[in-house]
């Protein structure tokens, strides 16, 4: 199996889907001539031409709406946001138009489209450029929300997202683009709404998604050296969310830590904990703990930023606490 970066895995998915269906097109800032702000669309303009790889002005609300209109009449747009922080300007089109069109038209108008781009914090980009938006977007009925953490999942989920007849929010990780992993060639599909157990162990479940899946796997490897074995449940999509996979793991380990990149209040973890208390109440040997960003806007200074972010150390501390080891 080929080892690819997360970036190249995404490019491969885009290329394969553009080849497969001529209704698919990619649109966004710097996606064509510049080859993509993060080079995810590198080479695609040469291969598919300017009608299918479309540079837009800096006009998030405008081009998100163009995507909605094109999807309404049968095209399959992939709208790239340079980052999800900029997509806030476009949320009316994502939330009020794309997510609700099928419902408020009584099933007449499908929205086969993808909104994608990097999400979450990179390094020292400070408050306005370092935010994880999945809990905002997963709140909305009508949207599906993908958060791939590995190159293989990035490829497989993006192909599923492009083929889905619903609006799919696809959250990539700025810090993930250069990470590497084995990626199956050709037709590799990861279904939306199916979690993957990325590490197995009996002592505790760590339920996570996106970039934090990598942190959780590292934690699993480190703790294994101490004789602590954990389940890492990578949700991969946070809407629909794989409640069964969460329950299966927690019913086995009887302890859980929920790890996410975003803030605490109304975060994805709040929802996961709710599922656990409903589905696994009698299985729990300890309260479920959460690891997340500190409840502050992201600071710039290196030391403050490090302190604000969820990380392996905080995750290990939480695992030991639910195992009553500290």
């Amino acid at each position: 199996m080929a080892v690819l970066t997360y970036r190249d895995a995404l490019t491969q998915a885009l290329r394969e889907e553009l080849q497969r269906d001529d209704r698919v097109f990619l649109m966004g800032e710097e996606v064509a001539q510049y080859n993509g702000a993060y080079k995810v669309s590198k080479g695609l303009l040469d291969e598919f031409g300017p009608m299918r790889i479309v540079d837009t002005p800096i006009t998030e609300l405008g081009f998100a709406g163009v995507g909605v209109g094109a999807a309404m009449v049968g095209l399959r747009p992939i709208v790239e946001f340079m980052t999800w922080n900029f997509a806030l300007l476009a949320l009316d089109e994502v939330v009020n138009a794309a997510a609700k069109m099928l419902y408020m038209s009584g099933g007449q108008f499908k929205m086969p489209m993808v909104f994608r781009g990097p999400n979450g914090a990179a390094l020292q980009l400070s408050a306005q450029h370092s935010q994880a938006w999945e809990s905002w977007l997963a709140h909305i009925p009508g949207l599906k929300v993908c958060t791939p953490g590995t190159p293989a999942d990035a490829k497989g989920l993006l192909k599923s997202a492009i083929r889905d007849d619903n609006p799919v929010v696809f959250l990539e990780g700025e810090m993930l683009y250069n990470t590497k992993g084995e990626v199956p060639e050709g037709e590799h599909i990861v279904p939306l709404g199916v979690a993957e157990l990325k590490r197995t162990g009996d002592h505790c479940s760590v339920i996570t998604h996106g970039k934090m899946a990598l942190v959780a796997m590292r934690v699993a490897d480190d703790l294994a050296k101490e004789g602590i074995n954990i389940d890492v449940v990578d949700l991969r999509t946070v809407r629909p969310i794989d409640v069964e996979a969460i329950s299966r793991s927690v019913q086995k380990t009887n302890r859980a830590v929920v790890l996410e990149e975003g803030w605490e209040i109304c975060g994805m973890g709040s929802q996961v904990v709710d599922f656990i208390q409903r589905e696994c109440f009698d299985d729990l040997d300890a309260p479920v703990l959460r690891v997340h960003q500190e409840d502050v806007p992201m600071p710039y200074a290196k030391n403050l930023e490090r302190a604000a972010k969820p990380d392996a150390g905080k995750t290990i501390a939480a695992i030991k606490k639910v195992m009553y080891l500290d």
């Binding site: 405008g62 099933g107 009925p141």
Partner: protein, 359 residues
């Protein structure tokens, strides 16, 4: 102040007409040729406008009786615009609009029964009772809604124009919105994109002079809304929206421009709404005077058309009454259909949230 007295750009006939000395050759038909009417077309226009009027009078009645809930924005006073515009486009063209959408839907040919049933919240409504007054959708007539956020659908129209271009089609997308939408970002972003990318979209500002209760003079730094066309290197026209023939001529130029030159147009149609912003607000007395309302009602678009037809002698008073009676009968039939239709079954609460299909 009457509609005509309002400070406005020069009438269309005196403005430079970029579409007319066109690159399409000397034998291309003029806008007035394309918009020329026959007695049959004139009768259809009157019928469309009467139907909208009589239908919405019943909407007001149904709202008062509690059969229609939520917000309900009536189009009464503006019917020449919808009738004129729809009469100049093809069945394969697209229409998208804001929340004052009943009249436009009817003029486009959406079933009056399906529209009334939607307003009554019934299973037989065009959106199965899930959309209501502000969200009339009809795939059969390419009627793309019914959108409730001011300006939000204007970029969507650009997207429909993009899809037409992508497929090398020669349809147009007509997008309606009120004059208050010209101050919102989505409008500007959409106009820039449509002009930059040569998209066949006709943006129609229905300038009824009030965004809810705020007069245009209190909301808009430059009341000449067509400067916004210039700002985006787009052709713009201002037209008397109470005169259905003027609306048709203007649309003839805009559709030719969209189909042949692949260029968008911004049109201001000057009009006046005879009802409140929605059913829940007073017709006059707060933000506009009764005198102003009455002055404007003298230019009721139906009256304007009626008088022209009557003066021409092609329809007798009796024949015109018959058109009115037909309109009333269709509105009554729509009411009866809606009133006797079932509510949506509860299991439909959960359908249409997601499509269960993939490509």
């Amino acid at each position: 102040m009457s509609t005509e007295a309002r400070k406005a750009p020069a009438p269309a006939s005196k403005r430079k007409e970029p579409g007319q000395p066109s690159s399409n050759g000397a034998d291309a038909p003029s806008a007035s040729d394309l918009a020329a009417t026959t007695p049959e077309i004139r009768r259809d226009l009157l019928h469309s406008m009467m139907l909208q009027r009589r239908f919405e009078e019943r909407c007001a009645e149904a709202y008062a009786l509690g059969k229609i809930g939520g917000f309900c924005h009536l189009y009464i006073g503006q019917e020449a615009i919808s009738a004129g515009v729809m009469s100049m486009i093809r069945p394969d063209d697209y229409v998208i609009t804001a929340y004052r959408d009943h009249g436009q839907a009817l003029a486009r040919g959406v079933s009056p029964r399906a529209v009334m049933a939607e307003l009554f919240g019934r299973d037989t409504g065009c959106s199965g009772g899930k959309g209501g007054s502000m969200h009339i959708f009809d795939a059969k007539t390419n009627f793309l809604g019914g959108h409730g956020i001011v300006g939000g659908h204007v970029p969507i129209a650009a997207g429909v124009g993009f899809a037409i271009k992508y497929r090398r089609g020669n349809q147009v997308c007509v997008c309606f919105f009120g004059e208050a939408a010209v101050n919102i970002g989505a409008f500007h972003e959409a106009l820039n994109i449509a002009s930059l990318w040569d998209l066949p979209v006709i943006f129609i500002i229905e300038n009824n002079r009030y965004g809810m209760g705020t007069a245009i003079s209190r909301s808009t730094a430059n009341e000449d809304v067509l400067v916004r066309a210039k700002a985006y290197r787009m052709e713009g026209e201002s037209v008397d929206g109470q005169d259905v023939f003027a609306v048709r001529e203007c649309m003839a130029r805009a559709t030719e421009r969209a189909r042949k030159e692949k260029r968008p147009t911004l049109i201001e149609m000057r009009t006046y709404r005879f009802m409140g912003h929605s059913m829940s607000d007073a017709v006059s007395g707060t933000y506009r005077t009764k005198d102003e309302l009455e002055e404007n009602m003298k230019r009721d678009p139906i009256l304007v058309l009626h008088n022209k037809i009557y003066e021409s002698g092609e329809l007798t008073e009796g024949e015109m009454h018959k058109i009115d009676d037909e309109a009333k009968a269709i509105a009554q039939d729509a009411w009866d259909f809606a009133d006797s239709s079932p509510e949506p079954p509860l299991e439909k609460l959960y359908t249409d949230v997601y499509a269960d299909t993939t490509s």
